[in-house]
Subunit: 129 residues, 4 copies
Amino acid sequence: MHISVDTNDRRPIYEQVMDEIRNLIARGELREGAALPPVRQLAADLGVNLNTIATAYRELQAEGLLTIRHGSGAVVAARTTRETGEVSADELRRTLRGALTRMALAGMPRAVILSAVTEELRALFGRGR
Amino acid sequence: MHISVDTNDRRPIYEQVMDEIRNLIARGELREGAALPPVRQLAADLGVNLNTIATAYRELQAEGLLTIRHGSGAVVAARTTRETGEVSADELRRTLRGALTRMALAGMPRAVILSAVTEELRALFGRGR
Amino acid sequence: MHISVDTNDRRPIYEQVMDEIRNLIARGELREGAALPPVRQLAADLGVNLNTIATAYRELQAEGLLTIRHGSGAVVAARTTRETGEVSADELRRTLRGALTRMALAGMPRAVILSAVTEELRALFGRGR
Amino acid sequence: MHISVDTNDRRPIYEQVMDEIRNLIARGELREGAALPPVRQLAADLGVNLNTIATAYRELQAEGLLTIRHGSGAVVAARTTRETGEVSADELRRTLRGALTRMALAGMPRAVILSAVTEELRALFGRGR
DNA sequence: GTGGTCTAGACCACG
DNA sequence: GTGGTCTAGACCACC
């Protein structure tokens, strides 16, 4: 399990952490019930403050992706528990459109973009998963 | 040319405006040299603060998408000029990955995601463009 | 006598246990002098840490609801003993207000809330008690 | 509009603030679109840290009760926006049961409890509202 | 002017 | 051991 943050990134650190954990869960590298590193340890590893990681974990819990039990750490929530946090399809579409638009404006041809998408989808859905 | 903002959207307003203009340019609805509405007019149309629009235009200029001439408004920059604004391939990839990850976590099957991508790419690249 | 805990509940486990025992006593299912299960047994039954149950019993003793005698387990305290544990009327009111406020914000009409209250009061006071 | 916190209360301060604001909204003392005090001002008024209030506001936004716009403060969300944050009926029932149980154990007779409930419901639903 | 994020460090609560 | 809360104070982002 590998998480990294980039202080040059415009996104706040806690959001970067959230994004990475979301991705690990979506890719199946963190399965249901798997324990996440203690906040203090992850904070030390990344060289950031404890509260920053605590915020990321708390928000992910609010999203339904993590289950945090005081005194016994954070684990990946069961799928059934997750269903609560809904994001509108509209918002998902806007985010996708924004990503593709920027790639197109950067001059990437359609084929290059499509191959990047395919690559990411393979990481998310795998071959047999 | 149509731009709209949504106060319920979590993104800052100036970023929504930037996204919409970027999209119009990428889709070819705003061609090179085309004039954008004056800051005051667009601000009035959208019912937002004048500084908000000014910020959006300024950032788009920094990205190389717009050319702002004091006294003569903003126009879409020529392609050759654009190359200045560098966005790292890494950042583009992260944004794409984030969008796809959220769709996957929302339970969308691979095929649905792929069809959304195809649809957006068609809007960006057209059939023959 | 039945006690259960729910790991998906946001309240700490020891508090869930306290609430259940309080409710059993208030409803008369655990009468004065009745023995509670040994800490080790209840912990095993619920699959939780021994300290968790010990904390619940200890707090209930502080509230005056239980009498714990080293070596002979915990029993429900006599009513006269109970009066010690003071909870301010203010705090009780705040808790009640919080519960009703959340129900109202969830969109429950006044009649539905009132019928839930009546139902709970019947369980607590019975018909003739 | 009056908010107060009590450091002797076991609940964290940010939760007390959330409870008070929830109640003001439910009672109609804060109507849709009404502006809340700036975080710094409320923090100063209550003599607590800025971050504590910011946390309360952020959580209320996540619950769908507030709309926070960076740079222009927090306002009570429109009802239509609220529908997102769902609390299970089970959890609401447990909270209600806990409140009533504690009142009964404190020795309050059924009639006294019922009159407290009626009083609170009147504050929430009013006579004609 | 508004809110958002982060730090360093303290102390508390839970299992 | 775990996570939770709070403080004081800094600096940034948005309108």
